[in-house]
């Protein structure tokens, strides 16, 4: 359904003719969805005006930040927030940054490094919006965004501008809970990617101390960047363990002793993806590393605030690893490889190598919860991958999973994915079935899993029917039903 000339003109009057387009020519670039129009607002006032027009004409709308992911109904008005790309404020004293949706994490992080600060970058990569909510490599020290979002500016589905937390009472961004309206219960599962309707136009993000240099000394040419030298008081290692139990023992101890700047439970396949520059090299290195590791493992970055602090953390790490019979992967001790990993895993710049490079697609199940339990679930999901590997439908990673602890404790994220060629229908179908089965198994075993939309009505009753409450809230927020949900409820 194309917009009528009159309605189109109303939107055009808001953003100017160069910032709206309904030409079918551009749509393949937008998720191959036939949007009613794509609109590029520059600021919150424009977003509000567009949302009000959508309500006036009962047109469905959705927003994207960098637009990596998303499934959108046909004829939606798409607000591409690309022009909202300003870092509004970096408050060093109170340790928060206020950003618009199209500030990418790499940009914000580089600015923060100059000030001795860092923030939680989502594992997806620093090419994504710095504002979006999620988990990542640095969760050990930066926690995840359940805590990291402070005040937020939100244009509701009806076009009200709501300023959450301290912003609502004092124009200050320092707190998400107030003084002022908290609404964290709605937002916490919901700052995108998620389901809260409306458009998030600014968010304050909590910042953390960065013990490294103001700029990493990157050398080399793409695709092989490494560090000229490992920055003072920093070290990166990969340890493997004889069993999952031993690995978990070490992970927990590292958390308790608060010594790791980053603990990322990569499997050998992900290490291989990270340190190689093409698919062929990756296959070869994976085979080699698989022989070198003794079992499951993790990648650790230690960052000291002084030589003494570094020496202490290193010593504790070595003791914990040795107590759990861990073994350091020799390849990663090579300063060039250590540099590659250190840089990539601080600047979060190789997730694409881990996921899309091999076949062009991946399908993943992330599970939040107590790590030792979720790992048990993941081992099962890994076993279920093996027949697909055998048939050559998915990339051979040994049936591995990965994950990491959050906030130096026993909670964390455990995830498992299959990489495949999306143009192979058999592979696609097999992976979808695997995902469905393993998600269902997770829910049955009472894990906090991403639920497929179709299943919510089945699983809701075992979770206090929260989905029904959520729908009631959404109805209140969006009486005209113009702001469709952005993804599955988690």
């Amino acid at each position: 359904m194309a917009l009528s000339k009159e309605v189109y003109k109303e939107f055009e009057d808001v953003v100017g003719e160069e910032n709206i387009c309904d030409d079918p020519a551009i749509m393949p670039a937008y998720f191959a969805t036939e949007f009613a129009a794509v609109i590029l607002p520059k600021d919150t006032a424009k977003v509000q005006a567009i949302v009000k027009l959508c309500n006036k004409h009962k047109l469905k709308f959705r927003a994207i930040s960098t637009g990596w992911t998303g499934v959108f109904p046909k004829n939606t008005i798409l607000l591409d927030l690309r022009r909202m790309n300003r870092i509004i404020e970096i408050n060093e004293k109170n340790m928060y940054a206020v950003v618009e949706p199209y500030v990418i994490s790499a940009e914000l992080q580089a600015e923060l490094f100059k000030r001795g600060l860092n923030f939680c970058i989502k594992g997806a990569g620093s090419n994504c919006s710095a504002m979006l909510r999620g988990h990542g490599h640095l969760d050990q020290t930066t926690s995840a965004d359940d805590r990291n979002h402070l005040a937020i500016e939100w244009v509701t589905p009806e076009g009200e501008i709501v300023r959450l937390g301290s912003l609502g009472s004092s124009d200050e961004w320092f707190c998400g809970d107030g003084p002022g309206p908290s609404l964290r219960a709605i937002i916490s599962s919901a700052v995108p990617p998620g389901v809260t309707p409306g458009v998030f136009t600014k968010a304050a993000i909590k910042l953390y101390h960065w013990p490294g240099p103001s700029k990493l000394p990157v050398v080399g040419k793409s695709p092989r960047y490494t560090l000229r030298e490992i920055p003072a008081n920093m070290m990166a290692r990969y340890y493997s363990f004889p069993s999952v139990e031993k690995m978990w023992q070490a992970e927990l101890k590292i958390g308790e002793s608060e010594i790791a700047y980053e603990l990322m439970g990569f499997n050998a396949s992900m290490v291989a993806s990270n340190i190689t520059t093409c698919n062929e090299e990756e296959e070869e290195v994976f085979r080699r590393i698989s022989q070198e590791v003794q079992g499951p493992g993790f990648f650790v970055i230690i960052a000291g605030n002084s030589p003494e602090d570094f020496a202490y953390k290193k010593k504790v790490l070595e003791k914990i690893v040795s107590d759990a019979d861990g073994k350091s992967l020799k390849s990663v001790e090579d300063p060039e490889i250590e540099g590659i990993l250190l840089c990539q895993c601080v600047r979060i710049s190789a997730s694409i190598r881990e996921t899309f490079r091999a076949g062009g697609a991946f399908n993943s199940i992330p599970i939040m919860g107590q790590r030792d339990l979720t790992i048990k679930w993941a081992i099962g999901a890994g076993e279920a991958k093996k027949p697909l590997i055998k048939k050559g439908l998915i990339v051979d990673d040994g049936g591995a999973f990965f994950g990491w602890g959050v906030e130096q404790g026993h909670l964390g994220k455990t995830e498992i994915f299959c990489r495949f060629d999306p143009l192979n229908p058999e592979a696609k179908k097999a992976v979808e079935e695997w995902r469905k089965e393993q998600c269902a198994r997770a829910v049955n075993e009472r894990y906090f899993a991403d639920l497929l939309m179709a299943k919510i009505d089945e699983s809701g009753p075992s979770l206090s029917n929260y989905h029904l409450w959520w729908r009631k809230i959404v109805k209140e927020l969006d009486p005209n039903s113009v702001s469709p949900e952005g993804g599955p409820l988690v």
Partner: protein
């Protein structure tokens, strides 16, 4: 290879947006983080490399229904290749090649834009990509240079259309000649007989016109028995070295950019810059000398059926790693008094000057916008001058500077070398 041959590559695009930015490790803040001028200016995802691949892939599936918007998307791209470098940091897929093939297809299907048609008509009629005034070899009158078509020379200096005809750029030809003479090189030119390399026509999508020029040039070169060609224009350099090779036309002709030749002469001590040039400069890597100057890799193969996007024989991608980055820097560093301040976006992830891909001709305002972005970045280094190694960059920067009244000076590297010897 035709657009269809890149279907698999285009389908690999995962929409990650990395092609909009310089490689993530190199991002130094909110400023100068973009690699692609097209998305930075036009904002709709369709104007990114990923968007172009998505559109081309969709047209392959659904048919080529051209519209003004499609042509606008196709032509507002400098063909600078920055997208490919950023994408290929992590992905194994061709990016610029399908974009180039998409362009070629639009032209072959008869969907062209008047501004570019005009240029190509002039190429056909007058053998030049720039307006013709006088004769091509007029700049050399009185210089007594050898005619490489009739005299035995070790090196052919190919001057290029812009440097030959543009009165403001002829100084670059004279400087180059001066340098080659000082280095004692037995070189010649082809003067009025010189022909356009065809490289810029290729960037615009006019493959046949390019091939026509390439064949004529190589016939002349073979006939004259020339073994080494030196170009001072990065567009010519890339055409002779990379594009002619791509179409198996280069044979064993050695192609060098003047900066490579100078660097070689410095190493062999046949050239000694002895005079001081007190200047703080920043160096702009021309796209076609830098990342796109990387040698062509001949490859033919088939996808291995199965889970991965891999081929038999394995495909080696041109990821910008082996462009000409060091010789110009070596040359600058050899001149006493020159202080080189690097910009944020350099080497394989340098920002384009704006002139490539026919944008200079079809959308001068976009070319100026792109150049202004670079000028801003150059000024931010504290440099007094931006130095480049291509007349097209110099021309575009000069125009941008004139328009915005910046005090930044613009030099081609040969001008500085000339001052120093």
């Amino acid at each position: 290879m035709a657009l269809e041959d890149y279907r698999g590559d285009m389908e690999m695009c995962c929409r990650c947006s990395c092609c909009k930015f310089i490689p993530m490790q190199m991002v130094q803040g909110a400023e100068y983080s973009y690699a692609c001028p097209s998305i930075a200016k036009y904002n709709f995802h369709a104007y990114s490399a990923g968007g172009r691949l998505n559109i081309a892939a969709s047209m392959l599936k659904k048919g080529f229904n051209y519209s003004d918007k499609i042509l606008d998307i196709v032509k507002n791209c400098q063909m600078c290749g920055a997208c490919g470098v950023s994408c290929n940091y992590a992905m194994d897929m061709e990016v610029l090649e399908p974009i180039q093939e998409f362009r070629i297809k639009t032209v072959e299907d008869g969907h062209t834009v008047p501004a570019l048609e005009k240029v190509i008509t002039s190429l056909g009629n007058q053998g030049s990509m720039v307006p013709v005034t006088g004769k091509r070899g007029d700049w050399a009158s009185g210089l007594n240079l050898k005619d490489a078509t009739s005299k035995k020379v070790n090196v052919l200096y190919h001057v290029g259309c812009l440097t030959s005809y543009d009165k403001n750029m002829q100084k670059l030809a004279k400087a180059t000649v001066n340098i080659l003479q000082k280095a004692g090189v037995n070189f010649g030119i082809t003067g009025d007989a010189e022909m356009c390399c065809g490289g810029r026509a290729y960037q615009m999508g006019y493959k046949e016109d390019f091939l026509n020029q390439a064949k004529k040039n190589m016939a002349m070169i073979k006939k004259a028995g020339i073994k080494t060609l030196v170009a001072s224009c990065s567009n010519c350099y890339q055409a002779f070295k990379v594009l002619y090779d791509k179409y198996n036309l280069r044979g064993d002709l050695e192609v060098l950019h003047i900066t490579e030749y100078i660097a070689r002469s410095l190493n062999e001590e046949t050239l000694k810059p002895s005079k001081k040039v007190a200047l703080t400069v920043t160096y702009h890597d021309p796209c076609r000398l830098g990342r796109l100057g990387e040698p062509w890799i001949h490859w033919e193969g088939k996808k291995i059926p199965g889970d991965r996007f891999v081929f038999d024989p394995p495909k080696i991608y041109r990821r910008g790693t082996h462009g000409v980055y060091e010789p110009p820097r070596e040359v600058l560093n050899s001149i006493s008094g020159i202080k080189l301040m690097e910009m944020t976006r350099i080497k394989e992830y340098a920002w384009c000057c704006g002139a490539g891909g026919g944008v200079n001709e079809s959308n001068p305002e976009f070319a100026m916008w792109t150049a202004n972005e670079r000028i801003r970045e150059a000024v931010s280094t504290g440099a007094e001058a931006i130095v480049t190694a291509c007349p097209w960059c110099e021309k575009t920067f000069n125009e941008a500077i004139q328009k915005n009244e910046s005090s930044l000076k613009v030099y081609d590297i040969v001008e500085l070398v000339e001052k120093a010897i």
